[in-house]
Symmetry: C2
């Protein structure tokens, strides 16, 4: 239990949010998983089955996309908050992984009555929209219907989990919603079969007492002195508002989502952890200032551009390949301006640096410390992040070069055992961001984590 909160200044935090600080795939899952041991309630507040953690428990591997990772710990209660969008067929598929294992989820999974249902037609709409957008204009969405589900919510054409309690009412709403969406997107849909399926889901949910007034539920847990941990899906630069729009997801991935998507007031959020990979990766298109990989590796830099070999190295050593998609992730140096911006929005209490070990072999390491506008030559003030794709594509990065440590940090658990240059790298991150780098990942395993002593 070295890596838990117990050894940190956050040992008594009643509400802790774990948020991706870059473009996703930072390894949030591991920290949320490790911390869950010390918490009573694990909640999701945003997104849907587009999250994707691999959780290993008792030697069995579980792929969770929608379910809170806490479900594998028998002592936890798990909540899908009002801000999530729930595709029930996917949820029950994920739960089916637990059949016949030692993990029993009954009574430990609660769905907010205010969460919106994501239906198959939302996934169909994702396809229609990609097609209408035309070749070369793909947003590279996961086609899981997330955007269309949040759009239905905004148009007040959404149907919520609580609507399932009165099935006749639900059926009427469902028919009317399908009709409205067909008028916009012209698709065929087997309404009656779908209703049959949902009748069965509704029975399981109501018989299992799985639908709750999550706002009251979570706040009651808080008042009862329970410890609550929130798992953010996606990451700051994919936030609907703060991300590099339109290459974003359709929900808040930043800390405000804890309030809008779970009903905890700001004063209750005690600790916000930003999860930061020791370098930067990005999936799909869109500008990426510190990028090293080239077009062949799925990036946007010219083939064979300087540093592409280092990008390829990070990609292979870091295993930077999408779990479900098999798509290679673009890789680049650590981007401090991006993190300053993400810290401004989220107000991190602490950072979890992940994958430090992936840098082990490098002779020198660069840190992007500032953005410069390539047309005006001006350096952007810390915290300023270009809002348009065109402006972001125009920035040049000012780098600092630091020496690598060229020895293995894999599996190290004590700060004192990290090579001096690795300590210096982490310390430089801390100085540049002015946030304590509390947890440092040195490998994929749960124990492969250093807790940095606080001054």
């Amino acid at each position: 239990r070295l890596a838990s909160t117990a050894a940190t200044p956050f040992a008594s935090s009643r509400v802790t949010a774990v948020l991706g600080a870059q473009w996703g795939d930072e390894g949030k899952g591991k920290l949320a998983d490790v911390l869950a041991e010390d918490y009573d309630v694990v909640g999701r507040f945003n997104g849907g089955a587009n999250a994707g953690h691999t959780v290993i428990a008792d030697g069995v591997k579980y792929a969770f996309h929608l379910l809170p990772c806490g479900l594998v710990y028998p002592h936890t209660l798990n909540i899908l908050g009002n801000g999530t969008v729930i595709h029930l067929p996917s949820m029950f598929d994920e739960l089916a992984q637990l059949d016949g294992t030692s993990v029993s989820w009954e009574g430990r999974l609660k769905l907010s009555n205010r969460a919106h249902l994501l239906f198959d037609y939302h996934q169909i709409i994702d396809g229609v929209l990609e097609e209408r957008r035309g070749a070369g204009k793909s947003l590279g969405t996961t086609k899981k219907g997330i955007g269309p589900a949040y759009a239905s919510k905004a148009l007040r054409l959404g149907i919520r989990v609580g609507d399932l309690v009165d099935f006749d009412d639900f059926a009427a709403k469902f028919r009317s919603a399908v009709d409205s969406h067909q008028k916009m997107y012209g698709f065929d849909y087997g309404i009656d079969d779908e209703l049959e399926r949902y009748r069965a889901f509704a029975d399981i949910l109501t018989n299992g007492d799985m639908i709750v007034d999550s706002v009251a539920y979570v706040n009651q847990a808080y008042n009862d002195g329970k410890r609550i941990i929130l798992e953010g899906a996606n990451a700051a630069l994919l936030d609907l508002d703060y991300g590099t729009y339109p290459f974003v997801t359709s929900s808040p991935t930043t800390v405000g989502g804890v309030c809008t998507g779970l009903g905890l007031a700001p004063g209750k959020i005690e600790c916000t952890v930003g999860v930061v990979k020791a370098y930067t990766t990005r999936v799909g298109w869109g500008p990426f200032p510190t990028e090293l990989t080239d077009v062949n590796a799925g990036g946007e830099r010219a083939e064979g551009a300087p540093g592409a070999d280092i990008g390829a190295h990070l990609q292979s050593v870091g295993g930077e390949i999408g779990v479900t998609t098999g798509r290679k992730r673009r890789c680049g140096w650590l981007d401090i301006p991006l993190l300053q911006y993400s810290n401004m929005v989220n107000g991190y209490s602490a950072v979890n640096v992940t994958k430090l070990d992936v840098l082990d072999d490098l002779e020198t390491i660069k840190i992007g410390v500032a953005y410069r506008d390539s047309t005006t030559g001006e350096t952007l003030a810390p915290g300023h992040m270009p809002s348009t794709i065109a402006e972001l594509a125009r920035v040049e990065v000012v780098y600092e070069e630091v020496p690598g440590w060229q020895s293995s940090t894999q599996g190290i658990t004590e700060w004192a055992e990290l090579p001096p240059n690795a300590q210096a790298y982490i310390q430089r991150m801390e100085d540049l961001l002015e946030v304590p780098m509390t947890w440092i990942g040195t490998g994929p395993g749960r124990d492969e984590m250093v807790i940095k002593p606080h001054a």
Copy 2:
């Protein structure tokens, strides 16, 4: 300056949010206006031109729907945050009211580069959707295009204020967005004329340096020690997530919106004021547990139902008629369960009770203190709010009756001068909600306000 923050425990609050705590029209405008005198920055974080405050300054009346009310004070900077949706023609119309007055807005209004533009086609879509919904299924929206604009944002078909900086790029995005929306809603649109109009808007905005990176801007102001006040539009029970869906607006009206819509992290929000009318009103359809008015007055209670005369009295004395729509507001008793729920979500530091004077003539006053499920007979625990229209329609209200004061409180500014029964009413609210009732409105005027001494 009696009514300002200066005489309250919040005198040093650097960031204060003023939020509607019920179904809207609580009189948020007056408090925001009064407090603005003491603040440097006034921001909006949600919604669009659907807010509606009347601000009186130097004897001139201004109707602001989109603009922050602080604009009438020369010392303030005013921001439309990233979470707002901006219809530029409406914005410039509102600004035109200030032409030839002593109020100069130049240099004092900033638009977030990340705020989405609301176009005329979003308003057209609102109409198409109401039509498709069919007779009797109206949501009673203001048809200002708010829902469709947030839907475009979620579908990543939105265009943001920052896109106007590169007009050719904007024009291409605009053509493509119109095309996408026409495929869904089949309407005609004069693209070229609209582009001409927007070219002129873009010139004004860029020449006037009105487009800013609002996240950095607001946080810089905070770091510079400036005081920031946020004006919420709409109210808690109209929140997209926490309101009585689908009779809601399409943005967060609760405190999380300050984070998602302006980029201030939770730890920076020092004071959250809930604005609570001394009774309850609601516009349009949807369940309303403490309602007194009947069908003739725009309500849902049977004609001539008991108490309808009191409802009609509140309506006329309180001037409960929509400013733009002329629609009568439904009136009812104070609803504590609703406020307990809204307080749970928002975490009020203090409450501003408004329109206490409207109750002056009543012999006895009822306070709704609990909800009871009429089918099971069970009392709902405090903070529990039914999530569906059907469940909310089913609640019975448990009332407490208190004696009225039957004398005028109009214009009173001192707590000691309030009639004992009026003091007792406020004190009862405070005890039931466990939040200090800091400001108490005793009339529409800026000076007609009591500050309740803190124990």
